[in-house]
Symmetry: C2
Subunit: 144 residues, 2 copies
């Protein structure tokens, strides 16, 4: 099973001990292309194993973030954190400030910018997050 072994290699390469819980959380993260809340992850986990504790999820995500496997952002319109796998490719979002509707953006002019910044600042760049704010057609009309 090469899938399995890829994940194990990834964990090993980052110095992350492999546990049942960490494997499950990672699998869940792989299913999503937009940021997921801890609650969502915990809920999905519960379907398979209802003994896994919320604080365990928090701790696992903290490890993943520190090792660069996952990016932590926040979920628009809430006070909770959102977590997303730090894939090489990525998605951007256009977010309505009023109704929180989300429209994906399919263009990304930032790869060149990243390269430029790498050279200028000597940061090791892991990824980026772009959010564009505005009012969607519906809210735009309703409000004025």
């Amino acid at each position: 099973m090469p899938q399995q072994s890829n994940k194990q290699k990834l964990f090993a390469s980052k110095g992350i001990k492999s546990t049942k819980q960490r494997n499950m959380v990672f699998d869940i993260l792989e299913e999503f292309e937009t940021p997921v809340s801890v609650e969502q992850i915990h809920l999905k986990l519960s379907e398979v194993d209802s003994t896994v504790n919320m604080s365990t999820v928090y701790r696992i995500l903290e490890v993943f973030v520190n090792k660069g496997l996952v990016l932590k952002t926040n979920i628009m319109g809430t006070n909770s954190a959102g977590f997303i796998l730090n894939r090489l490719e990525h998605k951007h979002q256009l977010v309505c400030l009023k109704c929180n509707k989300i429209v994906p953006i399919n263009k990304c002019p930032l790869n060149k910018l990243e390269q430029l910044m790498r050279e200028e600042t000597d940061f090791e760049i892991m990824g980026h997050k772009l959010e564009v704010f505005g009012y969607c057609p519906d809210c735009k009309e309703r409000d004025k």
Copy 2:
């Protein structure tokens, strides 16, 4: 005093009633170029008027956000919201995932992208937020 009157005009144009507290919060926001937490705002307020309540600050910021005067994001590495004036010009940041060091980015290739999105999605676009994540030179070395 033309400054003052500009602010009043801005409030009026958005249908925001002018109060002592709102004026003070707005003035504080003007001092910052990166997102500020509610606590920071409340602290600064206290220096001038220690009777202003935290919940008032929250409610004022909510109004400002709903009227498009202010953008709500989050402060990296914390669980608290960050607020920043929705200026026409804006700044971007390069954030170290490890030590949370922040380096400003002086290039923004996104104005064209905004225009493009406006046409494609019919959103009324108010602004955008770009965060680039990585490890700063110091942390990059320290860790591997």
